[in-house]
Amino acid sequence: MIDKRVASPAAAVADIHDGATVMIGGFGEAGSPIELIHALIDQEARDLTVISNNCGSGEVGLAALLKARRVAKMICSFPRTANSTVFPGLYRSGYTRLELVPQGTLAERIRAGGAGIPAFYTPTAVGTPLGEGKEHRRFGDREYLMEHGLTADFALIKARRADSHGNLVYNRTARNFGPLMAMAGRITIVQASDVVPPGDIDPEAVVTPGIFVDRVVHVPSPAHESELVAAGASYP
């Protein structure tokens, strides 16, 4: 009997180990699995490599994980935020290293990792500092560079609804990196506002099939990062 439900965020992230590579969904606050991130902060794993498009805002969620000095390296496309000085401080001090990846290349690298494709060619970043040192190659009359697939030990993502088989649908632009990270994470952990029995999600409308999901945690009323930041919250 397949039932991927786990009792709590704490139980869901309990085995994330020091030095693990962790993908964290979200574009800005949309799709950011704040409750899972906070459980990871409580859990105390350190020396993490985090793959996420941004670096969080304020002092909650991803920014709080960074502030707690748990992240040795960030792989992301846009670490700047108007309202957070957490990452800039860690970056300038040399505590947290940065691998900057164009957003579309980041997405495709994660998809490739999940799809068993070790490398692919893209025109993005040719002729720019982010293309330097990468293998270049001509196809037809255009220059491309080679990028490698990315996988992770764990993926933490947020869904609007999950069933107990792990089938997922998302909320609007909160979908962003979720379906890709679910594919690329060896253990994919999902927080969902709604958890339903198999059959309650239209099979034509499933965005992430359950095969990509290992654990589902019910978080009925997830916090909105912007509201926490506006209220001056910090975690823990």
């Binding site: 999940g114 594919m183 994470g185 060896r186 099939p209």
Partner: protein
């Protein structure tokens, strides 16, 4: 339902259904499984009570159910063999690129396939005779063997003309190199190990000598210590 005949003409070994049932015994609860055409399809009928498997069909469905009741089918709800099927609660539909991302990305736990030949190093030939007038057709076979975590082959031990299908080297064109983990035949369950074929379990009434006589490469005896189950439990890898 052909059975191997002993030298005295007596019917020996497992029937097709028994072979399928033997495969089913080895599939852990909660596995995501792709079943090939032929005997592999029969496996779904013999899954032990209490185990739930999820069937993938590479044309774009996870959570495949049995054939529809007569007159209730949809010509656009089919399996990889182009036969009408159903979808269970919890199923999902997706396009070919997502379907093969599941396969190539190592997300499926197990694939059960038929074979023309299996070599002692686990090479599989199951897509082409290589004959000049054969219309070559491969479908998803090469993707499945390259991507799925474990590959089980289920096949008669020998061809209709008595040639061994378990061989030193495949003579038919390969589907994949070093891909097969275990073979289920009418005569035996045999693992592919670094040392070659190793008997796991003979069919009732079949002994190692008979298996060796009908195999085109050396067969090691059952390991003195029972081998660790090939898949002890569903891996937690996604």
């Amino acid at each position: 339902m052909t059975r191997a005949a002993s030298e005295t003409g007596q019917v020996l070994g497992w029937t097709r259904d028994e072979m399928a049932a033997r495969v089913a015994q080895d599939i852990p609860d909660g596995s995501y499984v792709n079943l090939g055409i032929g005997i592999p399809e029969l496996v779904a009928r013999f899954v032990p009570e209490g185990r739930e498997l999820i069937y993938h069909t590479e044309n774009g469905l996870l959570g495949m159910g049995p054939s529809p009741a007569p007159g209730r089918g949809d010509p656009e709800l089919i399996n990889a063999g182009k036969r009408q099927v159903t979808a269970i609660p919890g199923a999902s539909f997706f396009h070919q690129s997502d379907s093969f991302a599941m396969i190539r990305g190592g997300h499926l736990d197990l694939c059960v396939l038929g074979a023309m030949q299996v070599s002692q190093q686990g090479d599989l030939a199951n897509w082409s005779t290589g004959a000049d007038d054969d219309i070559p057709a491969v479908g998803g076979a090469m993707d499945l063997v390259a991507g799925v975590k474990r590959i089980f082959v289920v096949t008669q031990h020998c061809t209709r003309t008595g040639e061994p299908k378990l061989v030193e080297r495949c003579t038919y064109p390969l589907t994949g190199l070093r891909v097969v983990d275990r073979v289920y035949t009418d005569l035996a369950v045999i693992d592919i190990t670094p040392a070659g074929f190793r008997l796991v379990e003979p069919a009732p009434g079949v002994d190692l000598d008979l298996i060796r006589a009908r195999t085109g490469a050396p067969v090691l005896p059952v390991a003195p210590i029972p081998p660790i189950a090939l898949i002890a439990e569903r891996s937690t890898d996604a």
